[in-house]
């Protein structure tokens, strides 16, 4: 992200199952799952998604580029996100600072986010500034390189390194994601590094890297422009044509064919950190957007943790009670996914015991499966969550773009909803058995000098962080 607050959303995925808000109303159902939209493609390949909502005199403009950290090359990790920052440094006809003037400076906002799979940029503003926002986005898509120089890149490099320090290196447990990704995927696998990248690779990025990346990936044929809110669609289409129409199509993009992975045997790791309480992480490789198993895995997560009656939460936090907190959920990226569990112990309870206690709960669900009532409760909040989300122009803009970009269908949210609501106890039992196997990564993060606090310390391999180091 360009601006702070939510570092976690760097590794953004569509989180369908909200952990704390379950629920549906008995009377509405799938009929409420609607976003009116129209879509078309310009001759240069730009996909345009429009959704009118006059409720509030505001608009959101979102440009979604199909490029993320998985498109980086080894030795250049963190590049897609660094590039996101460069996109805010001004372009051919938009001097630096003007973008902020016509967003934050008029009661609106702008930002960007980078995930493994895509990079998005957005503006939310009063609706009378729509043409201005289209102008801003078109100029950096068409003319970023006109004013780019190494000084701009270096400035953003320093800022991104500070983003990494703030979110990873100076954060208790901050290296967990990086260690887990590295252990879950083979060294050359495009999901084996975290979006933020390593300090050494950030230092290595050159001006030529930036230019090549831009020319290939920041072309209209790799982009999805959504406009949502209070606007006249005829006028909006004319402006889109006026500002984006003559940006030339880029070269065809060859996307890596990325397969989900399985781990033949488990890995058991321990990392010493400046923490006061140890913590256990368990991660299983699963599936990405293209597999419908993700829906049953979403439901499995909501059956295991979130509410106080969820199985793992109830056993570990309430009944025993040996843990201060536990979470388990599926993360879905475009090509791959992970099911990740995290347990924070209470004093006098070891990570070894907690791992065994969690495994016992998981074994039971693998043997017996969940009940239909558990599934109903776990998904009951989906309709409310969806309808509530309709109040956000930006939320709708990103949802339409995710569907178009990942599934070739802006209306994929309806299919997604139907598939999630159709998950059965047998589905959940099946995916628990298929994915929650011994082929997993177990990571203990322990206080400095306390390696014996790891789960099964004698079998755990000590690891260091790859990127920042202590300072």
């Amino acid at each position: 992200m360009r601006q702070s607050h939510l570092f976690a959303s760097l590794s953004l995925v569509t989180a369908l199952v909200a952990q704390h808000s379950a629920g549906t109303s008995a009377q509405a159902g799938a009929g409420a799952i609607k976003i009116p939209y129209e879509n078309y493609v310009l001759p240069n390949g730009l996909t345009v998604l429009l959704s009118v909502d006059h409720t509030t005199p505001t608009i959101a403009v979102n440009v979604w580029y199909h490029v993320g950290s998985k498109n980086e090359l080894p030795g250049r990790t963190g590049f897609a996100h660094l590039f996101e920052h460069v996109m805010f440094t001004g372009s051919g006809h938009v001097p630096y600072g003007v973008h902020d003037k016509f967003t934050g400076g008029i009661g609106g906002s702008n930002n960007g986010t980078t995930s493994n799979d895509r990079t998005t940029y957005y503006e939310t503003t009063p609706s009378n500034y729509l043409e201005t926002e289209i102008w801003l986005e078109s100029d950096r898509m068409g003319f970023l390189l006109d004013t780019l120089d190494i000084a701009k890149i270096n400035a953003q490099r320093d800022i991104v390194k500070n983003e990494r320090r703030q979110g990873v290196d100076n954060q208790p447990y901050g290296l967990a994601n990086e260690i887990l990704a590295k252990a879950t995927y083979p060294a050359t696998h495009p999901y084996s590094w975290d979006v933020i990248g390593s300090m050494a690779d950030l230092s290595a990025a050159s001006e030529e890297d930036v230019k090549n990346f831009f020319r290939l990936y920041y072309a209209p044929n790799n982009a999805f422009l959504s406009i949502v809110g209070d606007f006249d669609p005829v006028q909006a289409k004319a402006w889109v044509t006026k500002y984006f129409g003559d940006i030339p199509r880029g070269k065809p993009i060859v996307r890596p064919s990325v397969q989900p992975v399985t781990l033949d045997k488990g890995q058991r790791l321990v990392y010493e950190d400046r923490v006061t309480v140890p913590r256990l992480y368990v991660q299983w490789p699963t599936v990405g957007e293209k597999s419908d198993d993700r829906f049953a895995l979403d439901v499995l997560g909501a059956i295991l943790t979130g509410s106080r009656t969820a199985r793992l939460t109830k056993a570990l936090v309430y009944d025993q009670p040996a843990a201060a907190s536990v979470s388990a959920r599926q993360s879905t990226n475009e090509d791959v996914g992970e099911f990740a569990m995290m347990i924070t112990p209470r004093p006098r309870h070891t990570l070894t015991d907690l791992e065994a206690a969690a495994d016992a709960v998981i074994e039971k669900i693998k043997t017996d499966g969940p009940t239909a009532e558990e599934i109903q409760r776990a998904t009951a909040g989906q309709e409310l969550a969806f309808v509530s989300g309709l109040q956000s122009n930006l939320g709708k803009a990103q949802r339409l773009a995710d569907g178009a970009g990942f599934h070739g269908n802006p209306g994929y949210f309806q299919i997604e909803y139907q598939k999630l609501m159709a998950v059965t106890p047998a589905d959940v039992k099946r995916v628990a058995n298929k994915y929650l196997t011994s082929g997993r990564v177990v990571l203990s993060i322990v206080p400095l000098g306390q390696l014996d606090q790891a789960s099964k310390p004698a079998e755990s391999k000590k690891v260091g962080g790859s990127g920042g180091g202590a300072r």
């Binding site: 601006q3 702070s4 379950a22 629920g23 109303s25 509405a28 078309y40 493609v41 409720t55 509030t56 051919g92 006809h93 600072g97 003007v98 902020d100 003037k101 016509f102 934050g104 008029i106 009661g107 609106g108 702008n110 009063p126 009378n128 043409e131 201005t132 289209i134 078109s138 270096n154 400035a155 490099r157 320093d158 500070n162 320090r165 100076n170 954060q171 208790p172 044929n221 004319a238 400046r274 006061t276 509410s307 009656t309 009670p321 201060a324 924070t344 112990p345 209470r346 004093p347 409760r377 009951a380 409310l384 309808v387 109040q391 070739g408 269908n409 802006p410 209306g411 202590a470 300072r471």
Partner: protein, 481 residues
């Protein structure tokens, strides 16, 4: 792209000549701004003394329900029981006289929602968002939780243990450390703003304390019930009357009488050692004014220019992040409430640049107080932003409800938003400089830095900006060089 379902390729009819004549360096002229429409609401008083505000908003089948109580932990927590209010709000979800916590949770899960209780420093409440069809049932559960909590002793022990683990974890988290030490330095241990939960205060809390706090706090005489959404105002009143029929008339709004903050000390750097820290966490500031200050609008304009989070090109961020690259982001804010909340400027600074970053912070704080003239563009941008951000705050039922509760808790006039444009427009450059001088006390600034003392202390000292005092994570002086 593999082709969109139902995609329509539109033939582009714009002539090539028109394309070539497009002058992209010309900034598009914005259209006419929309007329501000402030949501309407009705206010009534219930038999219990609680106020009820309903704002009908049709379109989506949603309801936002909120109960708000005036006063919070700062008014109702004993000094040796800090953390009590937070335990109470969690205990509210631990079951009622008629059903245990699991049954309650499952009933709410089935309704697709959750009832959350909060007790903050100066206000608290309970609320939910639901589909309109589940509103009555969810309201009945909230009323049951509020009026007949069971407070099982085992739940208190579990919650206490969880809080103690979180407290232990927080002692190595730079943001948490700054969150303890900065207000402690500003307000001292005997002011509510300078206090926080400790192992001792959590361990002192008994079930009797929970029962007593609940009885004394959740009273209609200090309560607002606000409902926004796809409802009918009369029907909502009938529902609320039914749900709270047994609520006896009691309670009144607190006075919010805070002790005066301690006498300010000359500008000092308070250094909290965090060995090996990759960044130094900066907090610079002093006690500020309450929300009721007549200078509110001038302060908002001034802070927008200086360091507001929503202003990426604020002076602090433009300098320390964008130009120098010392940080991922720096900002400043006033914490406007009933009491004199702090002014704070700060951010996370790469350790090696701690000294030069401090010089830049001080330069910008001096600059906004007159050292660097306010430009026309800065003033216009601040004013435009503060006014034009308003319609977006009314975009959701929860947003409208938040606006209503803020107006009520802060005692603002009902036409606050109608008058906002005029009040912001009246602020002058001279006002900006005046309030900067008045409310940012450069001679008595507390500069709290959480960082790697071994590497940053000497460079900080060499800046000559202020003497350095090493403090622990409770703000106690542990020796200085």
């Amino acid at each position: 792209m593999k082709g969109l379902t139902a995609a329509v390729v539109v033939a582009l009819l714009v002539p090539v000549a028109a394309q070539q004549s497009l002058d992209r360096s010309k900034v598009p002229v914005p259209g006419k701004p929309a007329v501000l429409v402030v949501p309407a609401w009705t206010t009534t008083t219930l038999a219990s003394g609680a106020e009820l505000i309903v704002s009908e908003r049709h379109g989506l089948p949603l309801v936002s329900f909120q109960m708000t109580f005036q006063g919070g932990a700062n008014q109702y927590e004993p000094v040796d029981r800090r953390g009590l209010a937070d335990l109470v709000r969690s205990m509210m979800s631990e079951g009622t006289k008629t059903r245990d916590a699991d049954a309650l949770s499952m009933a709410l899960q089935t309704l697709g929602t959750n009832v959350g209780f909060t007790v903050g420093g100066e206000s608290g409440g309970a609320g939910f968002q639901s589909t309109v069809g589940n509103f009555e049932k969810t309201l009945a559960i909230l009323a049951e939780m509020l009026q007949t909590p069971a407070f099982p002793p085992a739940a208190l022990e579990r919650l206490r243990a969880q809080r103690l683990v979180a407290l232990t974890q927080s002692k190595v988290d730079p943001a948490s450390i700054a969150g303890r030490v900065f207000p402690r330095i500003l307000y001292g241990a005997s002011h509510p703003f300078g206090q926080y939960p400790t192992e001792a205060s959590y361990n002192a809390v008994t079930r009797d304390d929970i029962v007593a706090f609940h009885q004394a706090y959740f009273q209609p005489g200090r309560a607002l019930i606000s409902v926004v959404g796809d409802v009918n105002a009369a029907a909502v009143k009938a529902s609320v009357d039914r749900a709270f029929a047994a609520w006896p008339k009691a309670g009144s709004k607190p006075a919010f009488s805070y002790p005066a903050p301690p006498e300010r000390r000359a500008t000092t750097i308070y250094l909290v050692d965090k060995p090996g820290a990759a960044q130094s966490t900066f907090s610079l500031g002093n006690p500020g004014p309450p929300r009721s200050t007549a200078d509110y609008y001038a302060l908002q304009v001034m802070n927008f220019i200086l360091g507001a989070g929503q202003n990426f090109q604020s002076r602090l961020n433009a300098n320390i992040r964008e130009e120098k690259g010392y940080s991922y982001g720096v900002s400043s804010s006033f914490q406007f409430g009933k009491g004199p909340g702090p002014f704070r400027a700060g951010g996370n600074i790469v350790s090696a640049k701690s000294d030069v970053a401090l010089i830049e912070f001080m330069k910008e704080l001096r600059g906004i107080a007159g050292g660097r003239p306010i430009t026309d563009e800065e003033l216009a941008s601040a004013k435009d932003s503060l006014v034009q951000v308003v319609p977006g705050q009314f975009a959701s039922v929860a947003g409208v409800n938040g606006v209503i509760t803020t107006i009520w808790t802060q005692g603002l006039p009902a036409d606050y938003y109608q008058q906002l444009g005029k009040n912001v427009a009246a602020v002058t450059k001279a006002d900006v400089i005046r309030v900067a001088k008045q409310y940012i006390d450069l001679d008595h600034l507390a500069i709290v830095i959480v960082g790697d003392r071994a590497t940053i202390e000497a460079p900080l000292k060499a800046t000559g900006i202020a003497p350095i005092v090493a403090v622990d994570i409770d703000g106690n002086i542990i020796g200085s060089k």
